[in-house]
Structure formats: C-alpha cells, structure tokens
C-alpha cells in the first residue's frame, strides 16, 4: 500500500499545477490600450495585505474616490480598473505587476507602495512600453522615461524643513531613522541641507543613526544615546508600526521634552490614532494636510469623509492626483490613447490643480515640484490631527 503514496501525491500535484495554468490562461487576453467599446484598462498595484496594508488601502481608495466622483471615467473613457496586491515588496509585486502588464494588458499602471517594488517593476514597464503613474514609493532610477510620481522624492521632506529647523532650534539636532533605502534618503535630505546651511548634528560622529528595519521595536537604547548627546531637537522619519513604537516610547522616555521634528509620515493617517496623546505637539513636514484651505481640497475632503471614517492622508491624495493626471493625459492622448500616447501626454500636462495646491511634474525627475507645509499635531475637536502651522519651501528638481 505505501508504495502508492508518491504516485498519488505527484499526480495530484501535477493536476493542481495544470489547473493553475489553465485558470491562469483562461483569463482575457485583450490587446493593450482602449477596447472597441471606448473603455480603457488601468492597473492599480498596491499593498492590500501585509505590513503596508494601511497605506495600500488608502492608495486604492484614493484612486477609487476619483473614479467615483468622475462617473467612473478617465479622459472621457469608462475605466476598467484591475487591482492587484503588491504584498510586502518586490518578491510579490513583480509577479502581480507582470499579470497586470502582460495578461490584463493595462494601458497605464498606478499605485505601488514600496520603492523596491517600483524598482522591480521598471524593467517590465520598459519591456511593455506602459507608463507608471506612481503614487508613493520612488526609488533612485536611471531612466524615468515611463515613470511618473505624484508623491515626492524621498529626500524632499527633509530638504524642505531643514531651513525651518535651522532657524527655530537653538543648538544641535540629532538625526535618527530606519536602516533601509527610504530611511537613508529621507534622512540624507535633511542632514545634507541642514549641514549646508550651517546646522550642527548632535550625533557623535556627525552621521545619522540608523536603526535596524523592520526589526527594531524598542527604541529606548537610542533615546539614551540622544540624551547623552545633549541634542536640542530630534529629526526623524518612520512610518507604520515603527512610527507608533517610536512616538509612544519617545513620549515616555527621558527625552520626551526634546522637540521632535519629522517627515510627515511619522504622524500620518492611522498611526496617529495608535499613537494617541503621545504624538501631541510633534512637528512634521508634508506636502498635504486635510485642513488646507482651497476649493479642490474642500471638495476632496468632503467626498472622502462621505465614504470613509477620518480624514484623507497624503497617500490617498497622491493616488487621487494620479487619477487626475491619468484623466487629463488620457483625454489629451486623442482618439487612440495607446500607452505610448498616454506617456507622451503626461509629459505635456503642465500645471495640475490639486487638493495640495497647484503642482507640476519636474522634467528631469518626473516627480512633483510642489510646496511643503509645516504641521503640528494638535487637538481638533475630539481627535488629534495634523494642523498646518506654516508654509515651507517649494521643492522639486
């Protein structure tokens, strides 16, 4: 009897594999670009499970909100939105993007939370000639001819706030961040500019302290070092769970009275609820705040609040803007909006009116030239929220 077992399982395995393949191929195989019915396929890739699920969900909802408020159309064409899950990073993002680009043959791709995922998808964009209008992560790229971002470059928040910190803080500033590409870029943006304009870092060797990511859940030992350094303020960047841990532990540490400046993601969205009172008074720099006073933003926030609890985040805004970019580009691409035509049209959009204020794509980096705001966590009714307390620099290359 036992001799039959391998044969059984092997046969079953082969059968299952065959089923997977058949189902995989059975799905539609339309050509790229618009179909005869005048609709257009757009692919949205975002982390809908795993560590970055909350950001991914905001990105999906932001894009969907634009569609819902514009009759489900972009550029006058009905949109067939194909959503795929990016997961935790490139290892799952690449196959999912392959599906969108090579099986669903979408005319444009949007979303993508992680910088590594964007880097992994880039070769596919080059191969399929499809443009990406990314709404979050933006890695260092050699060739951006088909890559556009409505978010920011990772070193821009720090660059935008450096002058303000230099002017406000009497003394040296301690720089600390997570040990991965995003952390390095965010912190470098701050430290390079800050040192250039005469600021002094409190870190003992003059270099930013990087904490293992995502392994660090306990920041206490770092706080002891900050205390010992005698810093007058701290600049940091964390997002997600690490941001919650950092802020909560900071508020209970011996440096709780040292002013904390951060890239806005530290207190953005869901993490602010988890941080609670510990986040009070933190200063952050971001390209958006739901209390910005302009017509686009009032409409955006109202539409968002009608569907969701709480205020929209910068993630949702960037995705909403990605939809707006595609709306105008598809409209401008003429009667046959091929991926190539859409890509060309994006490059000619000029100024884009947005809830964050007007911005435009930089011709060299294909990411926004936009204004940054200084925000502080303050009481707003019953909840805490990021309140704009001033304008910072307009940044973009």
């Amino acid at each position: 009897m036992p001799h039959t077992t391998p044969w059984h399982s092997r046969a079953l395995g082969a059968t299952l594999l065959a089923v997977v393949l058949t189902v995989g191929t059975a799905c539609g195989d339309d050509g790229p670009g618009p179909s005869a019915s005048g609709s257009i396929k757009v692919g949205l890739l975002a982390s809908l499970s795993g560590t970055y699920q909350s950001v991914g969900t905001e990105i999906r909802d932001g894009f969907q909100l634009y569609l819902d408020t514009h009759d489900g159309k972009l550029g006058g064409r009905r949109v067939d939105l194909v959503v795929a899950d990016e997961g935790n990073g490139a290892q799952t993002a690449v196959p999912a993007a392959t599906k969108l680009l090579k099986q669903d043959r979408v005319a444009a791709l949007t979303g993508i939370v992680g910088g590594g995922s964007v880097a992994g998808v880039t070769p596919l964009l080059e191969e399929t000639k499809v443009p990406l209008v990314g709404s979050n992560g933006r890695p260092e790229l050699k060739d951006v001819s088909r890559v556009w971002h409505t978010s920011y470059l990772s070193d821009e928040p720090g660059e935008a706030i450096a002058q303000h910190v230099r002017d406000t803080v009497q003394g040296s500033v301690y720089a600390i961040g997570p040990d991965y590409q995003g952390g390095w870029d965010e912190l470098r943006g701050f430290t390079d500019t800050f040192v250039k304009i005469g600021g002094k870092l409190a870190n003992s060797d003059g270099k930013t302290t990087f904490t293992p990511f995502p392994a660090t859940t306990n920041f206490t030992p770092y706080f002891a070092r900050i205390k010992a350094s005698g810093a007058a303020a701290v600049y940091t960047f964390y997002a997600g769970s690490a941001a919650v841990d950092f802020v909560k532990q900071y508020a209970q540490s011996e440096i709780k009275d040292v002013p904390l400046y951060a890239a806005g993601f530290l207190t953005e969205g869901g993490v602010l609820n988890a941080q609670g009172d510990a986040a009070r008074d933190i200063f952050s720099v971001l390209n958006y705040s739901p209390d910005l006073d302009n017509a686009e933003n009032r409409a955006f926030v109202a539409a968002w609040k009608a569907k969701h609890d709480g205020s929209p985040t910068t993630y949702a805004l960037a995705s909403y803007d990605a939809a707006a970019v595609l709306d105008r580009a598809i409209g401008a691409a003429g009667s046959d909006p091929t991926p190539e035509a859409i890509n060309t049209a994006i490059g000619q959009l000029g100024q884009i009116a947005s809830p964050r204020g007007t911005w435009q794509f930089s011709t060299t980096t294909h990411s926004p030239v936009q204004k940054w705001y200084l925000r502080q966590v303050r009481q707003d009714g019953r909840a805490l929220s990021n309140t704009v307390v001033g304008d910072l620099a307009t940044v973009g290359r």
């Binding site: 036992p2 001799h3 039959t4 077992t5 391998p6 044969w7 059984h8 399982s9 092997r10 046969a11 079953l12 395995g13 082969a14 299952l16 594999l17 065959a18 997977v20 393949l21 995989g24 191929t25 195989d29 809908l48 499970s49 795993g50 699920q53 959503v83 795929a84 899950d85 990016e86 997961g87 935790n88 990073g89 490139a90 290892q91 799952t92 690449v94 196959p95 999912a96 392959t98 599906k99 969108l100 680009l101 090579k102 099986q103 910088g115 590594g116 880097a119 992994g120 880039t122 070769p123 596919l124 890695p139 050699k142 060739d143 040990d179 991965y180 590409q181 995003g182 390095w184 293992p212």
Partner: protein, 339 residues
C-alpha cells in the same frame, strides 16, 4: 509487479509534465510564461532544500543565502564581465558553493530544529548584508537594468519571455537531472543512509561530517545556479527576493512535495510559489488568507505526501532511529529516489 506499474506510470506523468513545460510558451500567454520561468528558478532552490532536508536530514531555512549569493554574483559578472549565460551560471553556482562552504562549520554538527534556526540566522544575516552593501547590491531597492543574457557564445540575447523561459527550463532540467544522477551514486546512497541513522553510519566507519559538508556545498551550488536563473527570469533582484518568507514557502513546498523526493520537491515548491504569485494577482487583499487555508487543507488532503516528511526536529531524536520504524516511512522514500 505493482511497483513496476507505478514506476512506469510515474515516468509517464513526469514525461508528460516535461512535454507540457516544453510546449507551454506557445500555448499560454506572456504572463504565464514569465511567471513559469520565475517559478522554475525558485523550484530549483526547492530542489536544493530537498537535498538537504529530505536526503541529508538537515531541514533548512537558509538556502536563500547561496541563492542570493548566486544571483548577485551573476549580476556582477553580467554587467561587468560577460553576458554569456553558461559563464554566469557557472559563476553563480560557484558563488553559492563558496557561501555554503563558508557556513559549513556552523551547520555540520547541528541537527533537527537547531539546523533550522542556524540556517534561518544565516539567511537573515545575508539579507541584512545585501541591504547594506549598496555599492554592489543597490541596497534594499535592488538592482535592475542588467544587460540581456545570451545563453552561449554566438547565440542571440534572450529578448522575449519565451526565450527566457526556455533557457530557464533547459538549465533547470539539466541541473535536476544532474542532482538525480548524483543521488544514484555512492554519494546519494550514503546521504540516505545518514538520514536513516547517522550513528550507525559512523559505526560503519564513514566520515559523516564529510558527507554532510559535501551535500551542503552541492546544495549551495544548485541554489546559486538558481540565483542566476532568477536574474534572467525577473531582470531585477532585491534583498526581498531572498527573505524569510521565500525560504519558509520553499521549505513548506518541499514538505508538500515530499522531502525525500527530488521530483516531488520540484513540484511542491513550484506549486506553492505559483499559487502565491497567482493569488496576489487575482485576489488582492485576500491572498494570505487563502494561502493559509490552502496550507491547512493540504495537510488534510495530502496526508500520504506530507507524512513522508518525517524529519524529526527534536535534538534528542536525531540519534539512532528505532528499529521498529513505521513501515510507511520505510517504503515511501525508497521508490521515490529511484525515479
């Protein structure tokens, strides 16, 4: 006679699957072809996991380390020295073998769950190093833009999904064939004997640590070779490709396929990776839930396949096996290895 029938039926299934894989690129769309190529590369790592877990009795979570070494070595060679596939393959396999050889002192005396944790640590340390050694690895954002590979001197570069897939298929078939041949030799016999009862093997005068080191290095070479295939199939690599979830899924795939069987491991690992990638595409947001439920269901649906994975992880039972070993265990692994 029954054995004979089963052996033939299995041979027929294997031939059928291979034939299906060869014609696949002309039947399915580009997406499926591209995913198959990537899956084959990962399944080859699964083979190296099976070699250690099932054949040598050392369950491992660290084969992503030589896999990564091979992939990054391939990129370095590919972008600076040669675009010839066999050269890259050889360098990648060499890099994998070297990394495995370096870690031999850590694992050679350990068994069971201890190996599992040591290899886990090795894998995590390698990923950490990859993320920080930016001048070579491009950091956590990874590396893209490698020049296209030409399989052999004088052949055109691999420019389409079909071509990349077929190259991968040929290499995987060759390496798996080599592994199967290796297992039919003295080395394979000794590895199986060692898995059965290491103390007994020692009592017969065999240098067990030598066998274990050899198996570890050979498995490292295979994983390294698979790394070069990932570079070809995906045209992008980053530390995320070599993280804990990859090694865990590979180990589970190998468990599903039957740890002691190379063919089973290939199918099991391929299946797990393919299903995961497919789920992330078609069920956004629910992939982990469905994948988890599938793992649980597999234990119930495939008890025979799974129960062959009798690697006991408790250190105390790594010593001699009981003479009254359950027959199911005894028989199941043997015909597999002769397939």
């Amino acid at each position: 006679m029954r054995d004979e029938v089963i052996r033939r039926a299995r041979g027929a299934v294997a031939a059928l699957v291979l034939a299906g894989l060869v014609v696949a690129p002309w039947v399915v769309d580009d997406y499926t072809t591209a995913i198959l190529a990537r899956t084959l590369a990962l399944a080859l790592v699964g083979v190296s996991v099976a070699l250690l877990t099932g054949v040598a009795g050392m369950p491992t979570l660290g084969q992503t380390a030589p896999y990564a070494a091979g992939a990054y070595a391939c990129v370095v060679v590919g972008s600076r020295i040669s675009d010839v596939g066999v050269v890259q393959l050889a360098v990648a396999a060499g890099a994998g073998a070297v990394l495995a050889a370096l870690t031999v002192p850590l694992v050679v005396h350990a068994r069971g769950v201890i190996v599992l944790m040591i290899t886990l640590a090795i894998g995590e340390l390698v990923v950490t190093i990859l993320g920080r050694w930016r001048s070579v690895t491009g950091g956590t954002d990874g590396l893209a833009g490698m020049p296209a590979v030409r399989p052999f001197w004088g052949l055109p570069p691999l420019a389409s999904d079909q071509a990349r897939y077929l190259y991968t298929l040929v290499v995987v078939a060759t390496l798996v064939g080599a592994a199967l041949l290796l297992l039919r030799t003295r080395a394979g016999l000794l590895l199986r004997a060692g898995r059965d009862d290491e103390t007994r093997l020692r009592a017969s005068g065999h240098r067990v640590p030598l066998h274990v080191s050899g198996a570890h290095i050979a498995a490292g070479a295979i994983a390294g070779g698979a790394g070069s295939l990932l570079v070809v199939a995906q045209q992008y690599i980053s530390p995320a490709d070599f993280g804990f979830d990859t090694s865990a899924l590979l180990l589970l795939g190998v468990v599903i396929g039957g740890t002691a069987s190379i063919g089973g491991a290939l199918v099991g690992a391929a299946l797990v990776i393919a299903v995961r990638d497919w789920l992330f595409g078609v069920l956004p947001g629910h992939a982990p839930l469905v994948l988890g439920a599938l793992f649980v269901a597999t234990v119930y649906l495939l008890p025979s396949g799974v129960n062959r994975a009798r690697v006991r992880l408790r250190a105390s039972s790594a010593a001699p096996s009981h003479p009254q070993a359950p027959p199911a265990r005894d028989a199941a692994t043997v015909p597999e290895l002769r397939a």
